[in-house]
């Protein structure tokens, strides 16, 4: 490989879930890409639970797939249990979720990177960035070799000054067994990029053969698994990036031979132990300064804040087919190891369990994402992009979709093309990035469906249709797949139209569907369709009024969305604009008027004034 001479177009620092998507996206767009990882055995490592998807997150994974990313296929191929969540609710909030074989997931992703054209993988720890005239031009590594690139993407996750806590015990590192990137933080600070601290935690891992499964409740996968990738619009060669057609990389066919998860609960004895040892907890003992997530509290947090709850649910998730390790979801803690073991003895089924790895809390630096443009480039340093947990998010899916967008945009920047800016009405990926760059975050940010104002439009099945125009414009998927999606879109429109215009008796089929009808009573024209087409068409017909209402709201905002705000716009010179508003606007540098209006403290009168000032 060629380092030090001709600069790369894109250098990705970090090969986690954000880094992998970033590197693949830019390489697939045809630009020379380098991905650096301190340890290439941990590429696409699932540092926390061995699962992908879930409510809102499942939709994100399908959006990643729609934009040509790898996470969906990688999950389908290496998944060992699949469940569709929220089946009792409407399609808009139903989400796929999968348990994955953790090693297989990482290994397959590594293999995909290895085989990707235009992409070099190299093991080196990035120790600092190289700047020239306010732009980033490359990075320094622990091997005393520098790499130069037109653009650099930072996807370092929790590794920046990562500090792990188990009670009073402290270890430097971004993940158990890994190192901490200590000098890179200084490089950011030198460039004027602000850093803050966040905290997250992970539960203990248990040895399966020491678990008494008789006492646990079994949770099986769905007999008819919902996969993440849109297999209906791909042909085999487009589907398997590593496997040869007809061959399985992992040894099983996606969705088959599923394994179970198991449910147990903490007991009142567990609460007693936690309460008696609170002073030893790193979080309660004041050892940790960072803010943790509200939606994923430690067990000590749950027991203190919900003192009247007699027990807390725990999920045991298998980490893979070829390991006996179990992840115990719900028992994240920073209590000392000894207390952790005492707690286990009080949990039905885990009385004599063997701990393979302890739970720990990790504190790390993140760069508040309000320092980024909506295309994820830094406002302070040109050509420098940020994606994933470094931006204050949590979750593989959130990281993956940022990585994808950063990868696309770094490639665009290297080629001198216009960046991709997703809008809030495009999907969860758009909501995520807009929230981050407009409002920032106080805790590790996780996606919820409630964050999306247009969530009825974001049913997982429509991801590919919603994002097709971007996939086409940025050349993210094959021409053949574009053609198939277009055909699918037309078929859906045709059958929706058919249902609106054709009748049974007095009423149009659409009216009958809206009133409620059993599937088998549907007309042949509908029943005969491909299930993906049928489901989407029925969804559109059934929810027509609601979907139109959301589309009208989007339409209303289009005017303000069209009004672009230049990054160097001098807000202080605008007559009539309040000082506080001018300050906020100068800091966030919104891309357009719609984004400006979402900044807290910017009121409608400010927006009017900006509109006038911009009409020049």
């Amino acid at each position: 490989m060629d380092y030090g001479h001709e600069p790369y177009d894109v250098i990705v620092c970090g090969a986690g879930h954000a880094g992998c998507e970033a590197a693949l996206a830019s390489a697939r767009m045809g630009v020379r890409t380098l991905i650096l990882s301190g340890n290439i055995d941990t590429i696409a490592q699932m540092s926390c639970n061995p699962a992908i998807g879930g409510v809102a997150k499942g939709q994100i994974v399908r959006e990643i797939d729609a934009l040509g990313g790898e996470m969906a296929i990688n999950t389908d191929v290496t998944g060992i249990q699949f469940r569709l969540l929220n089946v009792s609710k409407g399609p808009a909030v139903q989400s796929p979720r999968a348990q994955c074989d953790k090693r297989a997931y990482a290994l397959r992703m590594k293999h995909v990177l290895e085989r990707q054209e235009n992409l070099s993988v190299f093991q080196a720890t990035v120790t600092g960035l190289i700047f020239r005239d306010g732009c980033v031009v490359g990075c320094e590594t622990n091997l005393d070799v520098n790499f130069f690139g037109k653009t650099v993407i930072i996807t370092t996750g929790t590794f920046l000054r990562g500090l792990m806590h188990i009670g009073r015990n402290k270890n430097e590192g971004g993940r158990m067994g890994d190192y901490s990137a200590k000098t890179l933080s200084q490089s950011f600070l030198d460039a004027g990029i602000e850093l803050e601290r966040l905290k997250t935690g992970t539960p203990p891992r248990l040895l399966g053969r020491t678990i008494d499964f008789i006492k646990l409740e079994e949770q099986k996968g769905d007999p008819d698994p919902t996969l993440f990738a849109f297999h209906d619009t791909r042909d085999e060669s487009d589907m398997f990036h590593v496997e040869h057609p007809g061959e399985s990389f992992v040894g099983w066919t996606p969705g088959t031979d599923q394994v179970s998860c198991w449910i147990t609960y903490t007991s009142e004895k567990t609460s007693e132990i936690v309460n008696a040892n609170l002073h030893l907890s790193a979080m309660y003992g004041g050892e940790i300064e960072g803010t943790g997530p509200r939606y994923c509290p430690s067990i000590e947090d749950k027991i203190v804040r919900f003192a009247d709850k007699p027990r807390h649910m725990l999920f045991l998730e298998p980490e893979g087919r070829h390991t006996n390790e179990y992840y115990i979801n719900g028992l994240s803690t920073s209590l000392p190891l000894e207390t952790q073991m005492q707690m286990m003895a009080t949990i039905p089924g885990l009385e004599s369990v063997h701990l393979l790895r302890p739970a720990y809390a990790v504190e790390y630096d993140f760069a508040p994402p309000t320092q980024l443009f909506p295309h994820l480039e830094s406002k302070k340093v040109e050509n420098l992009f940020f994606a994933g947990q470094i931006n204050g998010t949590s979750g593989y899916e959130e990281a993956g979709c940022q990585g994808l967008v950063a990868g696309i945009n770094a490639a665009c920047k290297a080629r001198g093309d216009e960046p991709l800016v997703l809008k809030r009405h495009d999907g969860y990926a758009g909501v995520l990035i807009d929230d981050l760059v407009t409002k920032g975050t106080q805790e590790p940010y996780r996606m919820f469906t409630s964050r999306a104002e247009y969530r009825l439009l974001f049913n997982h099945g429509s991801s590919e249709l919603r994002l097709l125009d971007y996939a086409k414009r940025y050349d993210l998927i094959s021409k053949e797949r574009v053609a198939r999606i277009e055909r699918k879109r037309n078929e859906i429109e045709k059958i929706v139209n058919w249902m609106e215009t054709n009748r049974r008796g007095e009423s149009a089929w659409a009216t009958i569907v809206r009133r409620g009808i059993e599937d088998h009573e549907l007309p042949k024209e509908v029943l005969d369709l491909d299930p993906e087409v049928r489901n989407e068409a029925l969804y559109r017909v059934r929810y027509d009024g609601y979907l139109k209402r959301e589309l009208r709201q989007i339409e209303k905002l289009k005017d303000v969305e069209k009004v672009r705000l230049p990054a160097d716009f001098d807000y202080h010179s605008v007559r009539g604009l309040k000082k506080e508003s001018a300050l906020k606007l100068s800091e966030i540098k919104p891309a357009n008027l719609a984004q400006a209006s979402r900044i807290s403290g910017v009121n409608p009168a400010d927006v009017s004034i900006l509109m006038v000032a911009l009409g020049k």
Partner: protein, 454 residues
């Protein structure tokens, strides 16, 4: 830059408060249609031509006699189709016209929106626009300050509570959407419904209280009635403390209606003097008396002035039917001329007081009794409930409609995310009063009510 207008906006363009004329400006694509439906025209109005017409509300009620003018785009203030409606300067009329336009699908204009459209359509230049904008900003800051002061008060507390309950209700629904895998307490539909019902009641109560806001804003309408020359104008002057109505010995002098505002105790009172109640001899008076009867319909309280030196008059049925013990005081005027003659049985059955408007005898007593009547019948018992303006009641009505939609969906067992969609609409509506409510606030409620994080 091209700028497409998708909706039609409306606002009262003249300053708030009493004035001779109030002007409501409407701008956007619906103006042409509105000028037909509101003024019952069959053809398009001629642009830039003033018409005199009755303004009919969407329910068919005649709101006022107005002058309107239609401006065709681009030859208008904003550059879009514009309709300007000039009505009488009573703030209540202007408000009702605006409310009606909103009911017909217009949106209340944001501060500066007309100017913004004008600028973007190239009707005014930047300097002009900036000057107007600065004014608007200053005014909106003041309005904001006023609103904040108001929101710090009882009304604000009520709204805050309403919002809190709403956010809580939403959090309870969202928890089950976003966290189906968590060990949440079993979802109980009847609890959702009970919470929603409480919200609906609360919201309706706030909307109902808006009628008290009208009393506050426009005063309790107090009509002075009586035969010609019974001393109605003298009484008005006496209450006002200065000579306002033309007082004359010649019966029928007050042909127009005088409206004056006085403050009694904590109440604002709008005094309306009328022409005398007597078989008219001239056409002008006939018109006056017809109007008196119309005013009787509008009034809240009646001061029936009689000349105590003459036998009790007979009252037309339209008036008699309106008078009750709770809304009327019979004033036996002119006691300075001698002992009053006894009242008819009917008048005797109503509250009555002897006064002399010429030398102010009994006036203090009258004020006390009047305040008592208003206290009993026209003030909100719950003094926390006060609604203030169209914007507030428009927002609350929007909220109520969304809540009712959500309730209906609960009853029909529809999907949670559709119910949530209505609830979100309700939140947006109250956000129009309190400022946009961030989703973070809902999440705060959610995470403090539910133990999330299996």
């Amino acid at each position: 830059m091209t700028y497409q207008q998708t909706d039609t906006i409306a606002a009262v363009a003249t300053p708030q408060g009493e004035s001779a004329i109030a002007m409501i400006r409407v701008s956007g694509p619906d103006c042409r249609g509105l000028s037909k439906s509101v003024f019952r025209r069959t053809n398009d109005p001629r642009p830039r031509h003033s018409y005199h017409s009755t303004y009919y509300s969407v329910s068919g009620e005649a709101l006022d006699e107005v002058v309107y003018c239609f401006f065709e785009e681009p030859k208008s203030f904003s550059g879009d189709d514009t309709l300007e409606v000039s009505c009488h300067g009573n703030p209540l009329i202007a408000t009702r016209v605006l409310e009606d336009l909103i009911e017909r699908g217009c949106r209340q204009a944001d501060p500066g929106e007309f100017t913004r459209r004008a600028f973007l359509n190239g009707r005014i230049d930047l300097t002009q626009a900036e000057a107007v904008m600065e004014l608007i900003q200053a005014r909106s800051d003041k309005a904001l300050q006023a609103a904040n002061n108001q929101l710090r008060g009882a009304f604000g507390r009520q709204l805050g509570e309403l919002k809190n309950d709403l956010v809580d209700s939403i959090a309870f629904i969202e928890a089950y959407i976003d966290f189906p895998e968590e060990d949440l307490p079993e979802e109980k539909k009847d609890e959702h419904v009970a919470r929603l019902q409480r919200l609906i009641d609360f919201c309706s109560r706030l909307i109902d209280s808006s009628k008290y806001a009208a009393f506050l804003r426009d005063g309790v309408k107090t009509l002075i009635l009586g035969e010609p020359n019974a001393g109605k104008s003298s009484l008005l002057n006496c209450l006002l403390g200065f000579e306002r109505a033309i007082v004359s010995e010649e019966p029928g002098t007050t042909r127009d209606f005088l409206r004056e505002r006085i403050i009694l105790g904590s109440h604002s009172i709008q005094l309306m003097d009328t022409a005398g109640l007597r078989e008219p001899e001239s056409g002008i008076e006939k018109e006056g008396i017809r109007k008196t009867i119309e005013l009787v319909e509008e009034a809240d309280v009646f001061l029936l002035v009689i000349d105590s030196s003459l036998p009790s008059p007979d009252l037309p049925d339209e008036i008699r039917n309106k008078l009750t013990n709770e809304n009327c005081i019979v004033l036996q005027n002119k006691i300075d001329l001698g002992d009053p003659l006894p009242l008819s049985d009917y008048l005797q059955s109503l509250p009555n007081l002897p006064i002399s408007a010429t030398n102010s005898t009994g006036i203090e007593n009258l004020k006390t009794v009047l305040v008592d009547i208003i206290d009993t019948s026209f003030s909100c018992q719950d003094d926390d409930l006060i609604l203030v303006n169209t914007r507030h009641s428009e927002a609350l009505k929007g909220m109520l409609a969304c809540l009712n939609g959500a309730l209906e969906k609960f009853q029909n067992d529809e999907a949670a995310e559709l119910i949530a969609s209505d609830m979100r609409g309700a939140l947006d509506a109250i956000g129009q009063i309190l400022g946009r409510i961030d989703n973070e606030e809902m999440l705060d409620h959610l995470f403090s009510s539910f133990c999330i994080g299996k």
